[in-house]
Symmetry: C2
Subunit: 211 residues, 2 copies
């Protein structure tokens, strides 16, 4: 039987970088532009978020291949309102003004899909994030770096945005876009052979990973 | 008067990378090898940690220059015991076995020193970290990646170590080696002109940062 392969269903360079931290080989397969999550804040928005992740995974599945597909979608929530990506620098500034001095939540829905085994698992990971009570001047500077423009909630915690964030509670990498610990647990559960083969884990200890 | 300059008193490439996230120009000046923190766990170890940071800052100060010096030192604590850098792969494995499945604390002492103004501030930032309850096989694999060997507590949360860490409470970057939010606050307090000049913050908004 052909070796199981891991597929990341994402067009996000950040998710690719994050997944590389697991030390597993994988391929990126870009899902077709799916319907954007409507910015309504009904109580079912976390289910909607999961559905977006599931659609991404299903959309890249190839039934003739022995593969496991990973997909994710991230949203920022504050006081029951959802924040997507800003549409303009002014919109970014408004989002940041809304977030400063307060806690908010970052939710990432993850889907792991193993078509051959007919297994599909989803999970929503939530991290609480506290942004500092920052001046308009600093927020303006941040908006003008250009960094907020393609980020949900208008900041990148792993970039210059690091200086905006006072503390987090939960998985840090979830805020970047992929909850790595949880992803690893899901892959362990759905496709243990993937990890055994790729990381060469054996009871007597691993083989040296080439890097 | 000559422009104020920021000096990072550190030989750690990780701290240099972290400080770059603030978008400020700075120079690295390597402190002489200071006395290692003794791995005793007296109740004053946080004061000792601060003293190490202060010694680093003082050791690179040049009284003829108009500069602000930043230094830091990081230690991992679990159940009242302190963990430094492992001395061997076996030592690394033992540290990781001690940490798995439990919460521990990462403390970083930060010192900001402005010789011209005779200002010296210190702060200890603490982040709580929960490592997953991982198998020996996975810990062995991680040790064999080589990553743990130069890290306090035998892991790098920003590297492959990401998959070991379930969640954190506090500043994530503190775990990497420099609590960026706090560092920015300290620099704002000690040397506001440094930030005004470098980031071109003005009440009407910033100038575009070149990058």
């Amino acid at each position: 039987m052909e070796n199981l392969r891991l597929i990341l269903a994402s067009s996000s360079p950040r998710r690719k970088e994050l997944l590389e931290k697991l030390g597993l080989p994988f391929q990126v397969r870009q899902p077709p532009k799916t319907a954007e999550l409507p910015l309504s804040s009904g109580k079912d928005f976390l289910r909607e978020l999961s559905q977006v992740a599931v659609r991404k995974a299903l959309s890249v599945a190839n039934s003739t291949e022995n593969e496991v597909i990973l997909s994710a979608d991230t949203i920022v929530e504050i006081d029951g309102r959802l924040l997507g990506k800003p549409v303009s620098p002014m919109d970014a500034l408004k989002m940041l003004q809304q977030l400063r001095g307060k806690w908010h939540q970052v939710h990432t829905a993850v889907c792991v899909y193993h078509p051959d085994q007919n297994i599909l698992k989803t999970h929503v990971e939530t991290t609480r994030v506290k942004m500092g009570n920052l001046s308009d001047a600093l927020l303006n500077w941040y908006v003008e770096t250009g960094e907020p423009m393609d980020k949900a909630g208008a900041y990148a915690i792993q970039g210059y945005g690091a200086l905006l964030i006072e503390k987090v509670e939960g998985c840090f990498f979830n805020v970047v876009g992929l909850p790595l610990y949880q992803v690893y647990q899901m892959l362990t559960s759905v496709a243990p052979t993937l990890l055994l083969e790729s990381q060469s884990i054996s009871p007597s200890g691993g083989k040296r990973l080439t890097r």
